[in-house]
């Protein structure tokens, strides 16, 4: 599918979609969105890029294998789950929140980091599966 239109568009679509996915991730706590959807949108951005420019180019763009995002994301989610135990002596997954909300993002708490972990895992999983299958195709 190496059409010029798609290739040109994907160069612009990739950053736009990625920013959109982060937007969806961050607004998740207040409005529809969240880590899972955000992760899927980000994956779609990369898949689209790979369709337009070829898988090897997308991989070169990513530099690391997307599979590495899985342990990073899992680790982040796990850390934010056990942070209350380690830091505050509270039960597992207790939400810890900054006292004051900041502009744009709203109140920052452990749930946000948990959601970022989900986001990374979803990207890692989706891209690993799709890249692996298309490589062996």
């Amino acid at each position: 599918m190496k059409t010029i239109i798609l290739r040109t568009a994907s160069d612009y679509l990739l950053p736009v979609l990625l920013i959109f996915s982060i937007f969806i991730l961050l607004r998740g706590h207040y409005l529809p969105g969240g880590g899972f959807v955000g992760g899927l949108i980000a994956s779609i951005a990369f898949v689209l890029h790979s369709f337009a420019n070829g898988l090897s180019n997308t991989k070169a763009l990513l530099r690391i294998h997307p599979g590495f995002l899985m342990p990073v994301g899992l680790g982040l989610a796990f850390l934010s789950a056990i942070a209350p135990i380690l830091g505050f002596g509270l039960p597992l997954m207790t939400g810890i929140w900054m006292p004051e909300p900041i502009s744009v993002l709203g109140t920052i708490g452990s749930a946000l980091f948990f959601d970022i972990g989900v986001y990374l895992v979803v990207i890692g999983v989706t891209l690993t599966i799709i890249f692996t299958i298309s490589e062996s195709a």
């Binding site: 969806i24 998740g28 706590h29 207040y30 409005l31 529809p32 969105g33 969240g34 880590g35 899972f36 959807v37 899927l40 949108i41 994956s43 779609i44 898949v47 599979g67 899985m70 342990p71 994301g73 899992l74 989610a77 796990f78 789950a81 597992l92 997954m93 939400g95 929140w97 709203g106 109140t107 708490g109 749930a111 948990f114 959601d115 972990g117 989900v118 895992v121 979803v122 890692g124 999983v125 989706t126 690993t128 599966i129 799709i130 692996t132 299958i133 298309s134 490589e135 062996s136 195709a137």
Partner: protein
């Protein structure tokens, strides 16, 4: 005390790193661990004999009442001293026995792991902790039996032993939990006072039966005994240490420990006497038909364990005292005989008792050890064995009505044990030395000192029983709930019926020894009956099970994705359908439904068309695309019903699914192999049934008056507790965050699975 128990584990971990230093000449240094522990426990002798009980409490999982609580009383001290004392000698012996073995460090690792687990077992005051140590002894025994892992027989025996003792471990856990819930505690010392309460509970028989299975599997009682003779595939130090002196007595220990809690009931006493009697007679007769020295010793160990269970079953003070004494006696002489057998095996290369003769001329100290052990085993004065036998007879005579029968049984067993001891300890050394063994050399003293010490101890304690009676036996009997005061053992009791029985035993044993010679012919004769032995029955069951799982697996795991989907669907149709059929009302209140809108009708029509198109198109790509249309239509439905989160997710997922499908289709061959007419009808019926079931299910759910508590709770508290306004997301990342954590882990595992399967490039040799 905790450090003392864990020392063995620490040492075996240390060996992982520093193992190579302990392979060569330094190996003998490992023996300092049991020696230090022996000295440590020996220093408690004074305090324990004064009636003190030393306890230690370490919190572990207090919310479940599981704690590392340890109690050192008479009974545990007796076992601890045996474990560390014999452990020390076995550690020393091993240094020479397995000299230059490639995996000597590994062997010491397992051995000290076992020692630590065994110490933990006998010192635990908490039932759950006891269970954990119990399992650890089974596991270390598994590694030690299978130590020669290149030998198929060893591996098989190891698995068999693990399976049998593991089964017992599970019943022990079940029994412990029952007992814990009846008494409200897992602490054994706290249970001591609730004996009557437990006996009155409806679960008493169940609890006792579970404990019995645990004890009988571990202590090789009939019909679970067969793993023990097979376990003799292990190197001799292991047979000595685990499979005669210590581990197999764990079951006996369990029974002794729980005598004051569960004992003194008819069910307890009768079962133990019957099982013990069957075991001792059965394996005592088996001894006559063995020619392998280790085989004879294995069966005589089972016999001895049977006697112990038999005596515990009698439950009187004298019987319990006899058990405690017999444990010491047996450990001393049986360990000696095993060590002696190991030396003979090492120096001559055979354990066949029909060819070994006259070795006293070349292995004099070993012969002395063997001879002394045989005396103790046979119960000839002045050995400790004589005292043990006298007490056993005395205890059995006190049993009421059936005393005569039981006495006859125990005397016959003892006569056969006499024979076995002499065959193992004396026969190889007597007679004329055959040509072949003229050049047998004396082994290094490291090997023969250990059995000699043990054998001499057996005689020494017999002549001076004062060394052990009040210091060790009294507290041990006390901790079994009987009165252990003024126990004074002596060799001479005057002329009485016990002495007469002893005389009969010795006389009959001597005659038997000189009349019956072990021969291969006898062994063959008994092996014809092998097919009805518990072992063969167990193996038959094992084979049957393997065959069944083979059939089962091949039926369901046939490798066709379509069949998996079909199986799951049919299963669900049958199960859900059955339940629905019984409970569903099939009534629908039309008034609660909203009116249809134009959008909905349109979407439904679009879906219907796409479904029909998917079904009847002959192009794969078109089918995938129209499936995508269905997915997007469902997104729209979500949007109509104000579930934007779901719609977004469904939309992204659908996009990715279509991409995945296309990628997979790309790999499929170009030609189409569509299913035939019959197949389509079959699949159609299943699909329609499945769809109908799901529809009915959803209608039922709608008809049900749902409690809205949960959703209201979430809606109310999302902002208050979790600072979020989007309830769906708050549920995902906060209220039910642990679920999400597990879900993303599953996702990651699935991705790794896909990656692994597709990247796998098998070597030609690994392909099947």
């Amino acid at each position: 005390m905790l450090v003392a128990i864990l020392l063995g584990f620490i040492f075996s971990l240390f060996l992982v790193l520093a193992g190579k230093f302990f392979k060569g000449k330094l190996a003998i240094l490992s023996a300092t661990i049991p020696l230090v522990l022996f000295i440590y426990f020996a220093q408690f002798l004074g305090r324990i004999s004064n009636g003190e009980v030393i306890t230690q409490h370490n919190s572990w999982i207090p919310s479940f009442n599981v704690n590392l609580d340890f109690t050192l009383d008479g009974l545990s001290l007796l076992f601890s001293l045996m474990i560390t004392g014999i452990g020390f000698l076995v550690f020393v012996y091993t240094a020479a026995y397995l000299k230059n073995h490639k995996y000597l460090d590994r062997f010491y690792g397992y051995l000290s792991m076992f020692m630590a687990s065994m110490l933990g077992l006998v010192l635990s005051d908490n039932l759950i902790t006891l269970f954990i140590f119990w399992e650890l002894t089974s596991i270390s025994s598994f590694f030690l039996i299978g130590f020669n892992n290149s030998n198929e027989g060893s591996r098989k025996s190891a698995i068999q032993a693990l399976a049998i003792t593991g089964l017992g471990g599970l019943t022990l856990l079940a029994g412990s939990i029952f007992l814990g819930s009846v008494t409200g505690t897992y602490s054994i010392s706290e249970m001591l006072n609730s004996g009557a309460e437990i006996a009155a509970s409806p679960y008493y028989i169940l609890i006792v039966s579970l404990f019995f299975i645990a004890a009988f599997t571990k202590s090789a009682q009939f019909p679970f005994h067969f793993w023990l003779p097979d376990a003799m595939k292990a190197p001799t130090p292991v047979s000595t240490y685990l499979h005669s002196a210590t581990m197999v007595k764990a079951g006996v220990y369990l029974l002794m420990r729980f005598t004051p809690v569960l004992g003194n009931q008819e069910f307890w006493n009768t079962t133990l006497i019957i099982v013990g009697a069957i075991t001792m007679i059965y394996s005592a007769i088996h001894m006559l038909f063995r020619t392998d020295l280790k085989g004879i010793l294995a069966y005589s160990t089972i016999t001895a364990l049977g006697i112990m269970v038999f005596m515990i079953g009698q439950g009187s003070r004298d019987a319990l005292l006899a058990t405690a004494l017999f444990i010491i006696v047996h450990a001393l002489y049986k360990a000696t005989l095993f060590l002696v057998t190991g030396i003979i095996d090492l120096q001559t290369g055979t354990r066949d008792v029909t060819v070994l003769r006259g070795l006293r001329k070349v292995l004099l100290p070993v012969a002395i050890a063997g001879f002394l052990a045989a005396i103790s085993s046979a119960g000839i004065p002045p050995s400790l064995g004589f005292l043990g036998k006298e007490l056993i007879y005395e205890g059995t005579l006190q049993v009421g009505g059936t005393a005569v029968l039981l006495v006859v049984l125990i005397v016959i067993t003892k006569i056969l044990l006499f024979y076995a001891g002499f065959v193992a300890g004396v026969t190889p050394f007597m007679g004329k030395l055959p040509e072949a063994y003229q050049k047998v050399k004396m082994p290094s003293p490291i090997l023969w000192v250990a059995p000699l010490i043990l054998a001499l101890a057996g005689i020494l304690f017999g002549i001076f029983p004062g060394i052990i009676d009040s210091s060790l036996l009294t507290p041990a009997v006390n901790s079994m709930g009987a009165d252990g005061a003024d126990i004074h053992l002596k060799l001479w009791h005057g002329f009485n019926i016990v002495l007469l029985l002893s005389a009969i035993t010795i006389a009959a044993g001597t005659i038997l020894y000189f009349k019956v010679k072990p021969s291969a012919e006898l062994e063959n004769r008994i092996s014809k009956l092998e097919f009805i032995s518990p072992k063969s029955i167990n193996e038959g069951f094992g084979n049957l099970f393997t065959k069944f799982s083979d059939l089962w697996t091949n039926f369901f795991q046939n490798g066709y994705l379509r069949n998996y989907v079909k199986t799951i669907m049919i299963f669900m149709i049958v199960l859900t359908g059955y339940k629905l059929f019984k409970t569903a009302t099939f009534s629908l209140d039309y008034s609660t439904l909203l009116e249809l809108t134009v959008y909905e009708v349109t979407i439904c029509l679009v879906m219907l068309v796409s479904i029909l198109y998917t079904l009847f198109t002959s192009s794969r790509l078109a089918a995938v695309a129209s499936m995508g249309v269905i997915g997007y239509s469902i997104c729209l439905v979500f949007v109509f019903y104000s579930a934007p989160d779901l719609a977004m997710t469904q939309f992204s997922i659908d996009t990715l699914t279509v991409i995945l499908f296309v990628l997979v289709l790309y790999r499929l061959p170009k030609y189409l192999n569509l299913s035939d007419y019959k197949m389509r009808i079959k699949d159609g019926i299943i699909s329609i049934a499945f769809g109908s079931i799901i529809t009915i299910l959803i209608l039922e759910v709608i008809a049900e008056q749902v409690g809205r508590n949960v959703s209201e709770y979430y809606a109310h508290n999302a902002y208050l507790l979790a600072h979020g306004k989007n309830v769906v997301n708050v549920i995902l990342v906060d209220f039910r965050g642990v679920d999400t954590l597990i879900e993303i882990s599953v996702l990651a595992i699935a991705a790794i699975g896909v990656f692994g399967l597709l990247k796998l490039r098998l070597k030609r040799s690994d392909q099947r």
